[in-house]
Symmetry: C2
Subunit: 454 residues, 2 copies
């Protein structure tokens, strides 16, 4: 009998708490869906700053913008956290293909971190391979002096497009050195793109120091199709010309941090962030202006609602996610140096699309605690807690301090149409989808701050 009574009270308490949580979920949602500043902030970042690769003057401008935006959102305290970052300089670039016996310029983008041709034309014949195995099977003399075209298609049969990306991205990362190892003088890749268009996608590549650092460019899907067709008929030569290179010195840059001080356990910190840097094309709206303005919006909404979180809430705009992770490392190093207590770190770096889930990188017990709230999240379209996804910028604090991570999982269908392209612009982001992502992260923060994770 006694155990039944206990059970009854336990259910009653749970019921009450669940009810209050549900009401607070609704309050957070109403505040953000009706008064969000996400979309305006994103417009300003995209249109006044534009793309902002680490180390560039635009990135420095973005830091100032972030500081102002965080103050305007009402953070108790705003500060910059130094991080020295690499600076990839693109300069001028062009690619000519002699399809049909005549050279013509095609849309192409040098891969990030790649070494260009020093601004001089590099002319060579193209050799097509579909994958690394085909390349390996070729005799070196067939590759020597040529430009290897990695014609690997993004697998559209994966419904969650990040799986397709994970599958295809090895050609961007490892293509140049794999080709150079066999004597190639340059590479071209079919972009990691789901797009039915011709936008080339840049993104980081990595050289293996044992081989020549050959120039590397990406083509959009339509030009890749044309090149594939042309090569089936006759040899095709290319002229690559590019000035890109890594600048010799690291550049002092910053994470931007805005904080709401916790009322009961201020020493316990909840981090939520996105990354402020972007590649040097488009406007970095989807990758990852969206995550930045969502983090700022969480500060604004909590302040507007008069919420007094038990834990300290920190919104962080990380610098240098794209080619160095130096901001994420600086944040983790500082947390270690100051012996900070971090409850959870949350990142939004998968686009400003309608949220569908929350990725969890934590113990099973902690996962189960968050999953026990799934009925609260369902009315906001969030049902998927199955993925182990955090975010690049919060990986270091997980690796170094075992901090549990969560990653916002928005609908993934459009992401790799836009990612690292000139089409990653403000116009591609929908105001409601963007705000809804902020709603879900604010709800998660509320739960963890209120009820803990253990």
């Amino acid at each position: 009998m006694r155990s039944r009574l206990l059970l009854f009270f336990a259910l009653l308490t749970a019921g009450t708490s669940f009810g209050q949580d549900s009401l607070m979920f609704r309050k957070i949602s109403d505040e953000i869906m009706l008064h969000s500043n996400c979309y305006n902030n994103l417009r300003v970042l995209c249109k006044r700053v534009g793309h902002r690769i680490s180390g560039s003057p635009e990135a420095a401008k973005a830091v100032l913008w972030g500081e102002d935006a965080m103050k305007e959102a009402g953070a108790d305290k705003v500060w910059l956290q130094a991080a020295d970052v690499p600076y990839f300089y693109r300069g001028k670039e062009s690619l000519e293909l002699n399809i049909g016996g005549k050279y013509e310029y095609v849309q192409a983008l040098s891969l990030g971190n790649s070494q260009g041709t020093g601004g001089k034309p590099l002319k060579a014949e193209i050799i097509l391979v579909h994958n690394f195995d085909e390349l390996k099977a070729l005799p070196d003399e067939q590759v020597k002096g040529k430009i290897v075209f990695f014609d690997y298609r993004f697998r559209q049969d994966f419904i969650f497009t990040f799986q397709g990306y994970g599958d295809a991205v090895r050609y961007r990362g490892g293509g140049p050195s794999a080709a150079a190892r066999k004597g190639a003088v340059g590479i071209i890749i079919r972009s990691m793109s789901t797009g039915e268009d011709d936008f080339p996608h840049t993104g980081g590549t990595h050289y293996n120091d044992s081989f020549a650092k050959v120039p590397a460019m990406a083509l959009g899907n339509k030009t890749s199709d044309r090149l594939e067709k042309a090569l089936a008929k006759e040899p095709v030569s290319a002229i690559m010309t590019s000035e890109c290179h890594m600048m010799p010195k690291m550049v002092r840059s910053y994470n931007v941090i805005g904080e709401i001080k916790g009322t009961e356990t201020p020493e316990q910190i909840i981090t939520v962030g996105g990354h402020l840097d972007s590649w040097d094309v488009g406007e970095g709206a989807t990758d990852d202006g969206a995550g930045c303005v969502q983090a700022i919006e969480i500060i604004r909404a909590m302040k507007a609602l008069g919420m007094k979180p038990k834990c300290t809430i920190r919104a962080v705009l990380f610098m240098n996610e794209e080619n160095g992770q130096k901001g994420g490392q600086a944040y983790a190093d500082s947390a270690i140096a100051k012996n900070e207590q971090h409850v959870i770190a949350i990142e939004s770096d998968a686009g400003g699309f309608s949220p569908r889930g929350i990725g969890l990188v934590m113990s099973d017990q902690q996962k189960n605690k968050i999953k026990s709230y799934k009925d609260l999240f369902l009315p906001y379209g969030v049902y998927d807690f199955s993925r182990e996804e955090g975010g690049s910028d919060i990986e270091p604090i997980h690796d170094k301090k075992k901090v549990p991570l969560a990653g916002l999982i928005p609908d993934s269908q459009r992401y790799f149409d836009l990612h690292h392209t000139n089409n990653d612009t403000f116009e591609q982001v929908n105001h409601r989808e963007l705000s809804l992502g902020a709603v879900v992260m604010a709800q998660l923060i509320y739960l963890v701050s209120e009820h803990g994770l253990n």
Copy 2:
């Protein structure tokens, strides 16, 4: 012991069937995600035909397009089903507001089915009301001779935007007669729009024959905001000029039907469709070119996969959803006249966005049967079976023949940015999201054809 054995075999069989279903789900998905013709078909419909209001020459052109597309998809049989439809003619229209003492043209669209000013300028002072209650509370003499501005905001706090639409749309439908009843000479409405832009949204209105048929126009959100602000300071007059009217005669038009004959129970019919007509603005891509090309894609994919469905599968492009439902009625009437057996009718008329659910209008037992497959649908992002939503075109066959209905429920965040506007174009639709909607409906059709609904 025996019952245990039976249970064991039951589970075994269920497991096998589930496994085969899961494999077929994957085959359908791979076929459509890799080889879909949805996006190309939508491009052609949007760019070569464009918008296509019932009764118009464009609608007639769309019927021919649909017939060809259905044949190209490989339907066993393609035919046209006659329906006589009303024809709303827009003609020239303009709206001038004297904000700040000077008349200026603003973006506006006459409401569908509305009676214009006969092409003559109608000049009157504007009176703002936020809702019907405010209008009712006004003395008639304050309304008489004026243009009523229904300044009711779309409720952005609803996460499922169709709820916000259901809430706001009464001002479009009932605004003209409510205002005319009090002596108004015309109305302007704030569009049923989630957009942070200035696109006006048209859409059907309905006159109560007891009152004058006053002209009615919609403003986009930004102009509505400006007008609201201006009216808070000083009186504002408007000059409405519009030629729109209903054409005196009904026009002969058609549903386009493509069929795959069932192999085991061909007399049992599964219908899947969208509507071919659109409002006379934009390109009718989201509303509802998407639903049409998805229905056609299901025929193509089933043929390409060599599927031999037990039941007969019919893809139907319904005519006149927007202002008459005559196509849906003709389809239901024909089913009655021929005493056809319909297992289920499925519609996609909520946009070509990523699917999230399937609305079910059927008995609880039938709902539970479909819900028992929910784990099969989850990898395709479909988790919501809670809504009672079918589709306007299939309502008549449900009302008249009790046919169970299902409605595709895509992500709703973008729909009411685009709905009935000049911005409802091909470019707003994403190829993967569009195809994924076809995948989910094809999967549902496979299940119902294979296992029945009872």
